[in-house]
């Protein structure tokens, strides 16, 4: 795909547009970066440093819509992100599913308009179905209803669920899901609580 794009760019560059030559893909990319820096202001908790991409963001921004990255690229991104996952020192991955439900419902947090001392949620329902009681759920991510009932309640599934919430790109490169632990959106306790929402046999998700 990278190669294909370069060929197209070279092709474009050879076609005169009036008297101007079309800028290369790299030129457009660097103009876009500079333009972004000049087009925002730091407000509240959202500084301009948020416009600086890490390697994962940079690579994933090159993808065509709905397309997964090439195998080698995906493996590299997943390895890079897998290395960031920190499991709780006490070894306990499950918190309180009732708190997990509140975190799943909460949409505030990290916006420039949000109180920095206010709640920070995971907003899971924006993209996922979870409990059958909540009808207002989005469909950007898959349904997580009966998450553990379908996959089992064992230690491996717990570890997978915790790790996925901590850093989704470790398991699916360029996932649309935020990396809640890696980017310090949620605390360790909050991740435990959301993991419990998915994994606890008493959670309505598994009813």
């Amino acid at each position: 795909m990278k190669l294909g794009r370069s060929v197209i760019v070279i092709g474009l560059a050879l076609v005169p547009l009036g008297c101007a030559i079309a800028p290369s893909n790299d030129q457009i990319a660097s103009q876009a970066t500079a333009m972004l820096q000049a087009s925002f202001k730091a407000t509240g908790q959202a500084g301009l440093d948020r416009l600086n991409q890490d390697e994962t963001q940079r690579v994933c921004s090159e993808l065509a819509p709905g397309k997964a990255p090439a195998k080698e690229v995906a493996e590299k991104i997943e390895k890079l992100n897998l290395a960031t996952i920190r499991y709780p020192a006490d070894g306990k991955l499950l918190g309180d599913w009732k708190n997990g439900e509140k975190i799943a419902q909460e949409g505030r947090g990290k916006q420039f308009s949000d109180d920095i001392a206010g709640p920070v949620g995971a907003n899971c329902y924006a993209c996922h179905q979870l409990t059958p009681q909540e009808l207002s759920f989005g469909t950007i991510g898959p349904s997580l209803y009966q998450f553990a009932k379908l996959r089992g309640y064992g230690a491996d599934t717990q570890r997978y669920a915790y790790g996925k919430i901590f850093n989704a790109d470790a398991f699916a490169a360029c996932s649309t899901m935020p990396r809640f632990g890696h980017n310090q959106i949620l605390t360790e306790q909050q991740i435990k609580d959301v993991t419990a929402l998915l994994m606890d046999p008493q959670s309505p998700v598994n009813k």
Binding site: A32, L36, S39, A46, R50, C60, K110, F112, P178, N183
Partner: protein
Amino acid sequence: MPDFPRRGSWLVALLTAVAIPSVLAQGSAVDEIAKYRAALQDGNPAELWEARGEELWKQKRGPRQVSMEQCDLGLGAGVVKGAYARLPRYFADADRVMDLETRLVWCMVAQQGYTEADAKKSPFGNGNARKSDIEALVAYITSESRGVPMNVSLAHPKEAAMYRIGEKMFYFRGGPHDFGCVTCHGEDGKRIRLQDLPNLTKLEGAQKAYTTWPAYRVSQGELRTFQWRLYDCFRQQRFPELLYGSDASIALTMFLARNANGAAFDAPAIKR
């Protein structure tokens, strides 16, 4: 003046009462919301913004006490009919690609004598508490393109470059949540909660979305412009605050407007 926020609240109450009793299965809740949206089309308070905008356009205002009727929106001084369907575009007098809102600010400064800070002082209104002149002007000018096919040109090299930069920005993922425009607007048939998301990478989605902004937002009791749409998307993306009329906002607008080419413009619309 009628009390718009109250009317908005009343409609929201109607939505809550009619559309989402907890006993309904989700499929029928979605159907009910579709019915509610259809019912909204009967009357659009945006007309009040359009009327105020037309007055503001014709009134002698600003330090120089001139009207905006000398403002060239791209089709010649004072020509409003069909102008929005061809924006953004390159303006030689400003040597810059501009969307409608940037152009209005430019005319307010260059012709009416306002300072740029004054012209940009209140781009987004807040019901009756704070009215925005730009929102009203945008409502009027866009209404004069209703039914006109979108026809945005990339003939000028600066227009072509803006389109390509805007495309880059659409796919740019960043911030603490790794979000970009494409996160929510890159696939068919997706929703946030119960809100349908247009796929802006496909012709049909781009056309339907772009041609229905600006819009009267019932939930806010306000007419919202395309600059506001981008501003609030970036807020929810957890980006810093988008500057009004910034080049990034124009580049993205250029990308989306051009992708809507061929579709009849159909706004100001009314949305939840």
